[in-house]
């Protein structure tokens, strides 16, 4: 009989070969939190490179006064798209990517609470990004005016209204960002549900890794802060297409209303963006110092406090719009207060390193860069919170320097630390340490070369968002230095990309736990299997792997 004679199949290889279409299908149709997390991070890195190229053209234009490398409209589109991309298509997917990949592993579960919502979130985010960039083709609209949006990432009314933004570019901005925002909200709901409902046995909230705590607060902040922006964007579309006149000053609308709605989202947003870096530092610094996070309860308290206070500081972006002296004083006070919990975080990270044995490898280098640069960003933030000082500094290059110290010197350095730290877990390969050090030093020097001088030109009266400037106002030399810094940053990023490609293709095989770490993701294989853990772990302290490795001196004895 044929059934008997039928030859036995060869035993399957451990890593079966898939054809291209099978691989593609696996990625497109996946609901696995690790694949989605990875796709978030890779798309964010792609948009990071795009936005970086835009920034380089901006710096090339500003390298000398009265430069004509790009015309004014092109320049205005560049800074609008650079800002929008960095915030919504780099920062936000990085939040989603890191939390998606790591939260289930760290709390010892097999996937997110809503895997299909997770996939929806990623694809709708990507659609939003492409919709925004499609404006370069479709932005002209029927009236043929312009291409991509040129009204700044903050899209102040009434510049976005039909009278001042013809064509469809403003619509692409509003709808692209709205749609990608839906993805962020979906992912945030998922993270909150997962952390609250799916922690492994023994993992109480007080034992949850600091990374997960920060991501929990971050996701809660997204759920609270993003809807006002979505509402404002819908109102803007109603204005533009149905004559609603919310923000249309020419029909009695209010330009200041847009600013309130935008910044009620916009200020919590910068904390939403920086929190992943806080989360990463809170994991990397202890491991590379070989000490537990100093003052863990205070760190949790600080991040919750920042979350709450950040909802009440938005109008410090509006000290110049003519609010009453009482409002200005209130928002100056609340903005300065947010510095207190932020200070606690910096102090506690430093105290974690104090008395440790610091392994000076790339992830820690990026953390140290973060600490010093974020300290500067925090202090310039205090200067901007002093409303009378802000009247001078607002909308000048000082502000550009301040928030790039926050979001590049802080967030991007933190993300690099995270990528170097978790790359072995995700790919099973180690990143090249030597290239990593090159990446760090080139990027660090370039970053500071670019952004330190911008503080000075701001104090010399150079306004933001200007496509060129006249000579003789003391801005030329600083601007040239800032542009030279871009060369170093670019070199750093090239080394980084080369390192990623080289190490993932031909890197050294990584052990499951290359850093001798203490959280659960290092207890499974590298890369983790689709189900994460063969058997769900049971934990007794906030450092479960420490307990395993030091049975004579476990953490749970001190809880």
């Amino acid at each position: 009989m044929a059934t008997i004679d039928y030859p036995l199949q060869e035993p399957q290889a451990l890593t079966p070969e898939f054809s291209f279409s099978e691989t593609l299908y696996k990625w497109v149709a996946t609901v696995d939190h690790k694949r989605l997390g990875l796709m978030y991070v890779v798309s964010a890195l792609f948009f990071f490179v795009v936005a970086g190229i835009m920034a380089s053209v901006i710096r090339l234009q500003l390298a000398a006064p009265l430069n004509h490398i790009v015309d004014p409209d092109t320049y205005n589109r560049l800074f609008t798209m650079h800002g929008t991309t960095m915030i919504f298509l780099v920062g936000m997917p990085m939040v989603a990517g890191f939390s998606n990949y790591l939260v289930p592993l760290m709390i010892g579960t097999r996937d997110m609470a809503f895997p299909r919502l997770n996939a929806f979130g990623f694809w709708i985010f990507l659609l939003g990004g492409f919709l925004l960039y499609f404006s370069y083709i479709g932005g002209g609209g029927l009236s043929g005016a312009g291409s991509a949006p040129d009204m700044g990432w903050f899209a102040y009314a009434p510049l976005t209204e039909k009278a001042f933004s013809r064509g469809a570019a403003a619509d692409y901005w509003a709808l692209g960002v709205l749609v990608s925002g839906l993805g962020s909200i979906a992912s945030a709901i998922n993270v909150v549900a997962t952390t609250l409902c799916m922690r492994c046995p023994g993992m109480t909230l007080s034992r949850m890794p600091m990374f997960v705590w920060v991501m929990l607060v971050d996701s809660w902040l997204i759920i609270v802060a993003l809807p006002p922006l979505s509402a404002a964007q819908i109102m803007l579309e109603l204005d533009r297409h149905l004559g609603a006149n919310f923000f249309d000053t020419q029909s009695g609308g209010s330009a200041v209303l847009w600013q309130h709605m935008f910044w009620i989202f916009g200020h919590p947003e910068v904390y939403i963006l920086i929190f992943p870096a806080f989360a990463i530092l809170s994991e990397v610094i202890p491991i590379f110092s070989r000490k537990p996070l100093f003052g863990r309860p205070a760190m949790v308290g600080a991040v919750v406090a920042i979350g709450f206070i950040s909802l009440g500081v938005w109008a410090h972006h509006m000290f110049c719009v003519g609010m009453t002296s009482w409002s200005n004083t209130f928002f100056a006070a609340s903005s300065m207060l947010v510095g207190v919990p932020t200070g606690i975080k910096i102090f506690n990270w430093t105290a974690t390193m104090y008395g440790g044995k610091l392994k000076m490898e790339t992830p820690l280098l990026f953390c140290i860069g973060f600490l010093l640069q974020f300290l500067v960003a925090g202090l310039t933030g205090i200067m901007l919170a002093v409303a009378p000082f802000d009247w001078q500094l607002h909308d000048s290059y000082f502000v550009v320097a301040h928030f790039h110290f926050t979001l590049v010197g802080g967030l991007v350095f933190g993300l690099f630390a995270g990528i170097y730290y978790w790359f072995p877990k995700v790919t099973g390969k180690l990143l090249d340490e030597k290239l990593g050090k090159w990446h760090f030093w080139l990027f660090c020097v370039g970053f500071n070369l670019t952004f330190i001088p911008l503080h000075w030109v701001g104090m010399l009266g150079m306004p933001r968002r200007t496509f060129t400037y006249f000579p003789g106002r003391g801005w030329e030399t600083w601007n040239l230095i800032a542009s030279i810094g871009v060369l170093f940053q670019t070199a750093g990023i090239l080394v980084f990309v080369w390192n990623l490609l080289k190490s993932s293709l031909r890197g050294v095989q990584a052990p499951d736990d290359p850093w001798d770490a203490w959280t659960l993701e290092w207890a499974t294989s590298s890369p983790p299997a689709e189900y994460n853990f063969e058997k769900l772990p049971v934990v007794r302290s906030s450092r479960p792997l420490w307990d395993l490795k030091h049975p004579n001196d476990p953490d749970w004895k001190f809880e």
Partner: protein, 331 residues
Amino acid sequence: MLNLLLQVQVPGVPERRITNIFNAATTPADAERQAAYLTLAVCAAIFVVVGGLIVYTVWRFRRKPGDDTHQEPPQVYGSNQIEAAWTVIPILIVFVLIGVSARVIASVQNASPPAKALKIRVVGHQWWWEIQYPDYHFTTANEIHVPATPDGSQATYLELTSADVNHSFWLPELGGKTDLIANRINYTWIDPKQPGAYVGNCAQYCGTEHAQMLLRVIADKPEDFKTWTKNQQKLAADDPQVAQARDAFGGLACVNCHMIRGTPAVGRFGPDLTHLMSRQTIGAGVLVNDKKGLRDWVNDPQDSKPGCFMPSMKLTDGELDQVVSYLQSLK
């Protein structure tokens, strides 16, 4: 590139100067500078202490070659006393800064205008400034003349609004920004102590030519200011030598957008040109207001200010000469 390094004056570009926010020339700017100095001192001290601590920690506890890699350091989980200290001390610092901010905010924002204060209304337009002197009944553009008194006794109060999108009034030496927003009137005040020309930019992004929306305040001695206002109140000069040029100008489309008081040119869309030659620059600070600058500007404004709303009128050389000679008579 050579211009850049030597900071040589580029021909045709109006004389510029360094506008440092710490060169305070008015009472509000001085109050802001005091707050700024205190804030800078506090922040510098924090930077030295905390930054020093971070650097010291990294240097002292870095792993050196030959260190025992197997022995873990003592596991310290926290310290209530230390953590309380670095919570309370920042709170105290913050309260000092809040107090200083509140005092300066009130002193600048809640100052009430003295009886003899000059009132000026500034209307922002896409890429130029309309300046109205309601007490004197005239309108000018882009350059604001105010009296300068060493004791600040003749302060100038400005009402700010916009005809289109948001703009922001900022001359760093005269004080911080106040936005110009349509459907809304904002207020600010200046009292320059020294006569001189102060330079500023529009500080709120307002579209294509935001970068080239410059603003000048010219602080005059009180007697010079009086002379200037007397001249501005007059109708446009009617120089018989340029009668032909005046008629030629009247026949061109210029009159649809520009006002020249006392002539058929009654447009309101562009700057008032009645006393054009009393201004130092044209195109909101883009070109020097001399014969060459005027000619270049009228010939093709899009060349020096691409995207601005004044089109190139495609005038012949003859027409251009006539327009420029007429404009030059508008003293």
